[in-house]
Symmetry: C2
Subunit: 148 residues, 2 copies
DNA sequence: TGTCTGCTGCAAAAGGTTCGCAGCGATGTC
DNA sequence: GACATCGCTGCGAACCTTTTGCAGCAGACA
């Protein structure tokens, strides 16, 4: 688990609680998790934890820079720990598979946006949608009903 | 307004209704519109139109390829007509301003994803988040409460 | 050990989207 | 032009995710 997370919280005036530790562990374990998924993971250890606590905790952990979230389209946001390398999510609109790609692959694009429009991109915040290699070749087949 | 929209609908077995015409006009007029904003625009002409009709109509119009939607983060999706040039939305996380950039600016990035991962990107579907030129320079000031 | 105040669980509210249903009206036919 | 069909709409309720208010609990510090 991210070392120094306790300091991170305490330094900003937050308290250390079991719930916060469990949420952080869950996020790191899941790598990509929606609040609901994080709740389930946390409840494997502490069944009494409430969903609203998950939301409030994620907000706090994001405040102190221990986690971030990204949007992958219609669904709820997914959270992940910040100690991992920054990455981009490639979301397949057909099979819903999520693939992670180093953010460095977008460096040229990001630099161009900054140079041309003065826009400083947070590339990891929103996912890239499209068709994955597998689905691209199968696009004539009927869509799966609910691949999740 | 997009010519041939009636044919587009009829060919797929859909009916032509005033509501569908108004929604399409609203989307084209607004350029970027959430369902709620589209409702308001439509109601300037026909006050009786219901929000659920907006949702259902947008779904139909998207089915036949007359509109598409994109996600700009937390909020609801925004719809736009497909006859415009494909573009990317740059969303400022601070002032919420949305800037449109030709999708061609991402060509290199898109091509790289296809070459390296076989991923065919629909670059316009999800917005790019970050800080616009103005906010980048003012990032030490307090955030505006609600810039909308 | 005790006090203070932040944090949590619970329940209700809020916001956005979907659904069921009855009636209306666009379409094709006569 | 009138008629029958069934797709579309308006309405209200349901749903799902996220937020909020509140009372009680518990972490931090003395």
């Amino acid at each position: 688990m991210t070392e120094g997370w306790e300091r991170r919280l305490r330094d900003q005036g937050f308290r250390i609680t079991p719930q916060r530790q469990l949420v952080l562990e869950a996020v790191e374990h899941l790598r990509h998790g929606t609040p609901e998924e994080i709740l389930v993971e946390v409840q494997r250890t502490a069944s009494g934890v409430n969903l609203s606590t998950i939301y409030r905790t994620l907000e706090v952990l994001e405040d102190v820079g221990l986690v971030t979230h990204a949007h992958i389209g219609h669904g709820p946001p997914t959270y992940h720990a910040v100690d991992e390398h920054t990455h981009i999510h490639l979301v397949c609109d057909r099979c819903k598979a999520v693939q992670s790609v180093p953010a460095s692959r977008a460096a040229g694009f990001v630099d161009a946006l900054e140079a041309e429009f003065g826009f400083r991109t947070d590339i990891s915040h929103v996912s890239v949608h499209g068709l994955c290699a597998d689905c691209k070749d199968r696009s004539f087949e009927p869509e799966p009903d609910d691949p999740l």
